[in-house]
Symmetry: C2
Amino acid sequence: MLGGMQDWELRVSGLLDHAARSDPAREIVTHWADGARTRTTWADLRRDALRVVQALRRLDIYPEDRVATLAMNHSRHLASWFGITGAGCVLHTINPRLFDDQLEYIVNHARDRVLIYDVAFHPIVERMRRRWPTIEHYVCFDDGRYAVTFADWIAVEDGDAMWDMNDERAPCMLCYTSGTTGDPKGVLYSHRSNVLHTLAMIQPACLAIEPRSCVLPVVPMFHANNWGLPWACAATGAKLVYSQVNEPVVLCDLMEAENVTHVGGVPTVWFAMFEHIDRTGAAMPGFKLALSGGSAVPVAVVERLMRAGVRVVQAWGMTETSPIATITYEPPGWDEMTFEQQVACKSRQGRAVYGSEVRTVGLSGAEGAADRDGATSGKLQVRGPWTIRRYFEAEEDAVGPDNWFDTGDVASISASGEVRLTDRTKDLIKSGGEWISSVELENAAVGHPEVLEAAAIGIAHPRWDERPVLVVVRRPGASVSAETLRAFLAGRVAKWWLPDAIEFVAELPHTGTGKISKKDLRAQFRDYRLPD
Amino acid sequence: MLGGMQDWELRVSGLLDHAARSDPAREIVTHWADGARTRTTWADLRRDALRVVQALRRLDIYPEDRVATLAMNHSRHLASWFGITGAGCVLHTINPRLFDDQLEYIVNHARDRVLIYDVAFHPIVERMRRRWPTIEHYVCFDDGRYAVTFADWIAVEDGDAMWDMNDERAPCMLCYTSGTTGDPKGVLYSHRSNVLHTLAMIQPACLAIEPRSCVLPVVPMFHANNWGLPWACAATGAKLVYSQVNEPVVLCDLMEAENVTHVGGVPTVWFAMFEHIDRTGAAMPGFKLALSGGSAVPVAVVERLMRAGVRVVQAWGMTETSPIATITYEPPGWDEMTFEQQVACKSRQGRAVYGSEVRTVGLSGAEGAADRDGATSGKLQVRGPWTIRRYFEAEEDAVGPDNWFDTGDVASISASGEVRLTDRTKDLIKSGGEWISSVELENAAVGHPEVLEAAAIGIAHPRWDERPVLVVVRRPGASVSAETLRAFLAGRVAKWWLPDAIEFVAELPHTGTGKISKKDLRAQFRDYRLPD
């Protein structure tokens, strides 16, 4: 026996239908690299997306075929998202910052048949074209010199088409993780996983997106599902603001001019914004909510945002979790907390909402869940309807028994479900049989006003197994010494955690997605000798 | 090809699992009819629900079997909701205000095998027992004189059980509509429809329920899925407050004592609350959100709530829509509206959120959707994943082509999707080839301070087909005359809408769910003659 309610497949095209129906004139604004600003509406974007559906069908691109984009954030890119997924094809968002070998690998692994790209990335296309034999058609979002423009490609269509209405569990989108080890791996979102993730993330405990919201995703569209923000805006009919460039002066101006309420970005976005404000004396933009993710945001940044009246929502997750796994919602008792307690709460990793479940298990691989006592560290695992089961074309599932996915992070969980990340499993430093968290050392170090970036790695030690070395990039013009920094750290971490050495470098190695590459840093320090 | 994400059935037991996991100590408070207040927690409620699962299995009650409740609002009733649905059985919530023939019909139509009831309704059980042959087991929530008590029934179980994990489209709950014509009809919610409705209703545009919320549903648990509030509270781990009785003094005290943030009730709840405040000089309780539904709330009440700083959310829907079909969310431009405009916006029926779709079609049955011009009235239709497809055990679907369900209401829809109800289809008064809205006449009439209730019906007229008669109940001690009331209406409705007669009565007939029964009123006025 089935229930008596209606059957509707949860497809992302239904989100766009809602936006176009509920507020057809609500805008999507784009700031282009050349300084131009253009506006479209949900109704017009829907028509353009349906034209993309027709243009793909004209090229004999079928449902489940992969169609790639290589582009920054703008409304045409957004129209292509809804058009590609609306045709039942799989949207593959390529990160232009990947290395050539990775770019070659993922396009061939995905067997992308079409690539739509920004002309700014034409050098990549030019360089890679011969290594991308599966791509049959190139379309350029913003220039007609090398390929048909997106506008011309869809101009011959009338938008009088129907969305593909396959099963809600059919694939929708493919995002590769840049992978610090081995080849990149493809995470294959389904329509259902994206719609459920959308409904979860608009709730007040998460992003509190509503029809009158105006959202500026600074996070690139090629990063982890654009954090789900385009789907969330469509689901509510919210206004959406995109910028092809990320200069703080442009972003701050957009926030003011477009009455942006929600901004989503990695910590660097907040650093750059405050640096711009401090340098120019510009006013703090009047947005209401800062979604921060990608890596932990320093307490000082959380505090400064909160003092400006901004609601800070730090999210923790990964491409494999769509990406939101936990979020720093305001728990019961929030109003009774001191400001300092609230800042501390917002500086941790938050809690899982319905649809995401977290647990920790013993670091040594012991069976069963670790205590939820807020102290015991363990391997952090996640499961739920928007958590990965199996990577694209993998031979076996990426999860253990009962669907638990191992995140590679180390964390503790409190009785009320609050997660505190302590480190990446492989970045923990083992000293005298105990674990030192490289993340906590680094967070303490970047709290010093003259430190721009810091990374802690373990160096082999005859007696202690490993001891930490801190590698630091000073801020421009700064001259902090190792002794001063060591004294600064002494009050902030356990004494036996203090690094045996502090080394200053001009820059740290980064991965294709902008994270510090511990793997490369360890390689650089392979022959390093600790001071006696 | 399927996406690579995890498969999880959307079952309401998963909502309870989340609540018990995310904040096990968060409370469910009950005020009992005898004045006692008890507290349980989400973790304990989950254990009790699992005991109910075991108790049902012990009685050889199987998945899909119907288990009925006949009870007011309290935590044991809530535990039975999660236990019955968690066992895979179908929860049938019986409205004790139905007439005996209806009570006989629905229990036999549902083939209920178990009934769990409040002792306050023992007279009904005593009276109906012989007419309810399908019921094999009686359990009493709060008294052991006539049947095993709920507490004893589950006390022998240990809660060490698993939820039934059938398909998410399996039935979850059965609510009968009292039906102004014909036999009551059963709406059969699925687990999926309830979970999707839950995710929609917690969003900021709807009820904005988050973990730190505290919700007091004054609406009875036997009314239309309790408006979805128990599921929404579980999905967020919010605190839940129930009262077995509805005296304003008790409700106001609960609101203050338990720091209630959200109150859900029919307009009568707000009338009674303000009457209590005005009479006793009590302070306005400090809740933040008033969810009003069931019937249109007068503008004056909306205004008074809003002046007290309460966010008013008026929802329109019906048992067949789970029940939320449209809701008065704050549209873009809300902050630029005057207070009067905001009050007017909140006094209409609002807009559909993602998952609910509305349209109007011609009153005369013409094909296709009517214009969304905010003026053209038409039959209001709804569809979506929590709208009914077919009544329980009906021979055919309750919907037309493309799943459109005809609500029986008449409305206009604006370009931005705002719905304004003008009447029930069958309550429209046809005069001189034009339609007069009985609802608008009644709303105008109850705007008069001396009018308690008013109902407009059409009386046959030789020239105009029908002409309106307004039937009015005066407030206690009031003495407003027909002439005065007619003059009051003259400035508020079109001249040709003015009733040909105004009749004062001691009371109006009501249906089992507390609505004015136009059917019975028309019967009373069958032989009425209009004045010349």
